[in-house]
């Protein structure tokens, strides 16, 4: 017991430490409070409302509050919804892969080669976000249309005689629009990851006779994988629920899940049906996030 006697100084120290921990916890709670409040008001509560709606039905344009799973049964038994989900998944996946291929060299160049131009290049990456996506999609229409700048330019330079009609209102247009919209979302986290890779580590690899290419693939790239993953998650999730670009540039010719949700709410006035589709989409997004987080944690720890 003698060895464990607590002196007044030690007691004061532990009290001060406890107070410091308490203060720190208070700061964390105070810091998180606005975010939690925001998320509760604008995400959790609306999602709960949607969830509740999804178990009701519409009868004669009025809500019938009887609990039912009919809306979910309809989603999982109607091949149209399956097709719409599948198309959205395919488009999101395709756009994510293209964004990844384009983002890696861009982010690497900005992080490692741009020198004093780095800030300016980063601003250029962000600039499109200053204008709303709707306006940007309309601008793409002006570029891709038959009398658009691209076709006109190709005609004037004699490259083509007849304008390309496939540039607008086609899958090509959807991919162009989505890649353009989401590429910055991919470049930014990837840039942050490349930036964290110390030049010394690359130099060490090269000292050990690694070629620049080998140093990139065996040192830089693996260390930048968390950024690659974060970018992929951003691109994929946003692409999955995208409405504006497929509608404005794709010409609304194929049914993606976001359009199916709109049809349920608007054309069919079936809010519970639309709510159920939204919940299923949200569940898919959450599942993707959960899987990527499981993958990201060990990667980040490494």
């Amino acid at each position: 017991m003698a060895g464990t006697t607590i002196t007044p100084a030690a007691s004061y120290g532990s009290t001060a430490q406890a107070a410091s921990v308490k203060r720190e916890r208070g700061h964390i709670i105070a810091g998180l409070a606005p975010v939690l409040l925001w998320q509760t008001l604008f995400f959790v509560i609306p999602m709960l409302i949607l969830l509740v709606y999804s178990f009701w039905t519409m009868r004669d344009y009025r809500l019938d509050y009887t609990f039912t799973l009919d809306n979910y049964v309809a989603i999982f038994t109607n091949p149209i919804y399956f097709k719409a989900f599948l198309l959205s998944l395919q488009v999101a996946l395709f756009v994510t892969v293209i964004c990844a291929v384009l983002a890696v060299p861009v982010a690497y160049f900005i992080a490692k080669k741009a020198g004093r131009w780095r800030v300016m290049l980063l601003v250029m990456v962000i600039i499109p976000f200053w204008v709303s996506l709707v306006m940007r999609a309309f601008a793409w229409r002006l570029l891709l249309g038959e009398r658009g700048f691209i076709n006109r330019g190709l005609e004037l330079t004699g490259v083509i005689e007849q304008p390309f009609s496939f540039l607008l209102y086609s899958p090509t247009a959807i991919v162009i629009g989505l890649v353009y919209a989401y590429l910055p979302l991919y470049v930014l986290p990837l840039y942050a990851s490349f930036d964290k890779v110390h030049d010394n580590w690359i130099a060490a690899a090269q000292d050990l006779n690694a070629t620049p290419m080998r140093a990139f693939w065996e040192v830089t790239f693996p260390l930048a994988l968390p950024g690659l993953m974060v970018g992929a998650v951003f691109c994929f999730i946003f692409g999955l629920g995208e409405y504006i670009v497929p509608a404005l540039l794709g010409g609304g010719k194929s049914l993606m899940i976001s359009q199916a949700i709109r049809l349920e709410f608007e054309l069919r006035q079936n809010w519970p049906g639309g709510a159920a589709l939204s919940i299923v989409l949200m569940a898919i997004v959450m599942a993707i996030l959960a899987v990527s987080l499981r993958w990201l944690r060990p990667e980040t720890a490494r």
């Binding site: 097709k83 009609s165 609304g252």
Partner: protein
């Protein structure tokens, strides 16, 4: 009483005095002459109107204010369903809504609108009878909507790409020479109605079962010729003007043709010999309005020839249902608005009706979009 006297203090007296002053202040703000619900006689306001674009014309709002002294707030609606959702949500107490006639049943059945007394709307007698007597503005035998604007749906075509003679045959829209050259808008009821109409159904609004399947299959056969299916009229117009599409089917064709001509396009509206389909929009009173008398006055004002002439020659340039607008428009304006063709249109088309089986039509449209 003695207890009261003993317990009351100067502080209590002050508190009672403050309460009395507060009550008196509040009472001064309340118009006790106004009934709590649906004032029938007194004009009250301001009037909140949820309407398609065009109703916010300052001349119309000023005109109503001069007449009644009441301000009108117009919120622009993007679609019929948008109006239904906003009125149903009840976040803003709208007094007037402006759905298409074919949506009358949905609003009335949802308990969102009030029946109108035709005697309250003297200008009804000035309207083209085909609109005034249309059953789609009624629900359970009562009139719910007062018609204001209308349009016709046929084929608007670039004359350099498709001749008027070719466009007189509705099936040209399926011709491979128009592959990826026809734009439409996301207007399910219209396209199913017209396809069924062109297939020879005498009452297209009644098609269901095998006839509906046939109509949707026919629409799916049209898909290779589809350039784009837009959410808005503006995109359809710009497709035609920019040459991305050579023809526009439906989408309020007379209005599309007018815009194309104004943009210098060599375009024409042709009604196929299989017939065209007309649409009309209405003004309806929202159930529970605290400004009932004003709402009625507004409908009467807005369906009058003078207001509709202002509307017709406003920024949107849609046709209007009052036959006497000619008194307020020049001959050129009247002709440009195609109001001189109304008799011809009625002879070759019908006012499209709401489908009997809306759910089946909505399912069918989903099939078409997913195909």
């Amino acid at each position: 009483m003695s207890t009261f006297r003993n317990s009351s203090s100067r502080r209590d007296v002050l508190r009672f005095a403050a309460s009395a002053a507060m009550f008196s202040a509040i009472a001064r703000q309340v118009d006790f002459t106004r009934p709590a619900f649906a004032s029938e006689d007194k004009l009250t306001g301001p009037l909140n109107v949820l309407a398609w674009t065009g109703y916010d014309d300052p001349r119309l709002i000023e005109g109503f204010k001069e007449l009644t002294g009441i301000d009108v707030n117009v919120k622009e609606a993007q679609s019929n369903s948008d109006q239904l959702s906003l009125v149903r949500a009840g976040t803003t107490q709208f007094d007037i809504v402006n759905p298409d006639a074919v949506w009358t049943t949905k609003f009335a059945q949802s308990g969102l609108t009030l029946p109108l007394d035709p005697a309250d709307i003297p200008s009804l007698s000035q309207m083209f009878p085909q609109f005034r007597n249309n059953t789609d503005i009624q629900y359970e035998g009562k009139m719910y909507g007062a018609p204001t604007r209308f349009g016709i749906n046929g084929i608007v075509h670039d004359l350099d790409k498709l001749s008027a003679a070719d466009a007189e045959e509705a099936h040209v829209l399926w011709d491979p020479k128009l592959r990826e050259r026809v734009s439409i808008v996301d207007w399910a009821e219209l396209y199913i109605y017209m396809t069924a109409q062109w297939a020879g159904n005498p009452a297209p609004e009644k098609v269901t079962g095998a006839d509906l399947d046939a109509a949707i299959n026919r629409l799916i056969e049209f898909k290779p010729n589809l350039r784009a299916l837009h959410d808005d009229l503006g995109s359809v117009k710009s497709d035609l003007i920019n040459g991305d599409s050579w023809a526009v089917w439906g989408a309020s064709s007379d209005n599309v043709a007018r815009s194309a001509k104004m943009a210098g396009k060599n375009a024409k509206l042709t009604l196929p010999k299989q017939g065209g389909a007309m649409w009309m929009e209405t003004l309806q009173i929202v159930r529970g309005t605290p400004n009932l008398a004003t709402a009625k006055a507004y409908i009467n004002y807005m369906t009058g020839a003078k207001a509709l002439a202002i509307m017709a020659w406003g920024k949107e340039q849609f046709c209007v249902t009052n036959a006497e607008v000619s008194k307020y428009l020049t001959a050129e304006q009247y002709k440009f608005l195609d109001l001189d063709k109304v008799d011809e249109w009625f002879a070759h088309s019908v006012v499209a009706k709401a489908p009997d089986d809306e759910k089946a039509w909505a399912d069918a449209w989903l099939n078409f979009k997913a195909a």
